[in-house]
């Protein structure tokens, strides 16, 4: 028995006249990993940024169609509220360089001016760092700057930062593309653990990664949603010829 957290219907996005995402519909299931893959420039990152309403920060950007989060249209909500409910992890790890590891984890509260009690803060920090499998590595240096961690650790810190806000869904934009293979496998392990508690939408251009970690996969090409379904099915018996070609490495 599953349910959908996010529902994208007939959604299009453009900026300065270029249609980047073209009439896309998809759904993201509760507590599953949904992968969004495709060659670079296919619009997957734009779609992801639209879900967090980050796309509109670019001047001359516009969207049409609807994105429902728990059946509420996020484009009828305040973008700040949307971003609080939807966590995001970026391609390049981006911990706040002026903050300690501890402050980085609760940055969402701190920066929004939400005051928490001391022990509440401690609990959130410990929980989030444990969830992102970073606690054991940093518990003795919580008050050091986050930017002195390794790339993989920084990325897990960013995941902890997103998790600390208790998001309804976690968006990840190629979270391993800037990391070495070892750190990548670490993050992938983490994803499979995380999905017991949280819904994840993962953008990747790495076919193998999509196959390894996701339950559902969407394949986008030139702004269009070519195919969307169970990962197993999409990888073994793809319906669309383009999916087959992409999986067999014919393009991209």
């Amino acid at each position: 028995m599953e349910s959908q957290v996010l529902k994208v219907t007939n959604f299009s996005a453009h900026f300065s006249g270029n249609q980047v995402v073209n009439n896309v519909s998809m759904k993201v299931a509760h507590n599953k990993v949904t992968a969004l893959m495709g060659p670079s420039g296919c619009g997957k990152t734009t779609l992801l940024r639209c879900i967090n309403r980050m796309h509109e920060l670019i001047p001359e950007a516009g969207v049409s169609g609807s994105i429902l989060l728990h059946n509420k249209d996020i484009y009828r909500m305040n973008p700040i509220l949307v971003r609080k409910k939807i966590g995001m992890v970026f391609q390049k790890p981006n911990p706040f360089p002026t903050m300690s590891i501890y402050d980085n984890v609760i940055a969402g509260y701190k920066l929004n001016g939400i005051s928490l009690k001391r022990d509440e803060k401690n609990r959130i920090v410990e929980d989030s760092l444990k969830k992102s499998a970073l606690w054991n590595e940093v518990k003795d240096r919580l008050y050091k700057k986050g930017s002195f961690l390794s790339g993989g650790q920084q990325q897990r810190l960013c995941i902890a930062r997103a998790l600390a806000m208790n998001p309804d869904i976690l968006l990840m934009d190629e979270p391993t593309s800037a990391l070495d293979p070892k750190a990548t496998s670490h993050i992938e392990e983490l994803l499979t653990e995380l999905k017991n508690n949280i819904t994840i939408l993962l953008v990747t251009h790495n076919i193998a990664q999509a196959a390894r970690v996701s339950d559902f996969t969407a394949f986008m090409y030139l702004g269009n949603m070519v195919e969307f379904g169970l990962t197993e099915k999409l990888f073994t018996v793809p319906e669309d010829k383009r999916t087959e070609e992409y999986l067999s490495g014919k393009f991209g």
Partner: protein, 282 residues
């Protein structure tokens, strides 16, 4: 291609290099001479008494420059209070609105303002403030210095914030942090070192300025801490004493020069240390 010609070319090459080195280091001679005279003549007058006491009437031995030290501090504070908030805000505006007509004009305007002769800025502060208040004042001097400081601060803020990676802003916005808080709590702290450097360089630039003070802060042989009254300042005191015919006052001017040069060069050194030490790692 005879050997002789080659030798000649090589000699010419070496000669040119020697001339470059010679002329480069020739510029150090005036620097050393200036520093040497300031130290030799300055050190002998400087003591605690010199820094904390007021000037004595002409002919009396002793006395100090306390009024000028306090005056310079007041002028710098007034200028900083006016210029820093305005300059930092304008700098943020420029880094946030990289393109656009206003941003372009503000950038051009800053370049022009940087090229305005300091004496002209003195005339402006005179017309704007001294005339309307009817008296020379520390306030008018501070405003004149603030106008001189602005381009430095605006530029430093803009250049610093430009270097901050875009993904930092996105990280904050993605957490649902409003725009204003993102700028104030994430972007500005990340660029604080650069902004602080700009402020210190701005202070170093204005602390030694005399021309804009001639008919604004004017000078004052007595201690004054009222910003609506004329004040003395180190550069004004040096100018007044230096152009007097009395060797006793020249000695005071050397002492004041020493203090001023130490202050200005000290600010430059502090700025360098800050830039190297506190650099934020991204």
């Amino acid at each position: 291609m005879t050997d002789g010609k080659l030798v000649f070319r090589i000699i010419k090459d070496r000669l040119f290099q020697a001339v470059v080195i010679l002329f480069s280091f020739a510029m150090i001679v005036p620097l050393f001479l200036i520093i040497y005279y300031i130290i030799r003549n300055g050190i002998s007058v400087i003591n605690w008494e010199f820094l904390v006491s007021l000037p004595k009437p002409m002919g009396d031995i002793g006395g100090g420059i306390a009024n000028a030290v306090v005056g310079t501090a007041m002028l710098v504070i007034v200028a900083t209070v006016f210029a820093v908030p305005l300059g930092v805000c304008a700098g943020i505006y420029l880094s946030e609105n990289k393109k656009g007509r206003i941003a372009y004009s503000v950038r051009l305007c800053m370049e022009i303002l940087q090229g305005v002769p300091s004496i002209v800025i003195g005339i402006i502060a005179y017309s704007w403030i001294v005339l309307s208040m009817g008296t020379f004042s520390a306030l008018s001097g501070g405003v004149a210095l603030a106008i001189m400081m602005l381009p430095v601060i605006v530029r430093a803020t803009e250049e610093t914030l430009k270097l901050i990676p875009e993904n930092l802003r996105e990280a904050s916005l993605a957490l649902g942090v409003p725009y204003s808080r993102t700028i104030i709590k994430v972007i500005v702290p990340a660029g604080l070192t650069g902004i602080l450097t700009g402020v210190l360089l701005g202070i170093a630039r204005i602390a030694g300025e005399t021309a804009p003070l001639l008919f604004t802060a004017f000078g004052n042989p007595f201690m004054n801490i009222n910003i609506f009254k004329p004040v003395d300042s180190l550069p004004m005191l040096i100018f007044n004493y230096a152009t007097s015919p009395y060797p006793l006052w020249h000695a005071m001017a050397w002492g004041a020069s020493f203090v001023l040069v130490v202050l200005v060069l000290g600010l430059n050194i502090v700025t360098k240390v800050i830039t190297n030490r506190w650099k934020v790692r991204f």
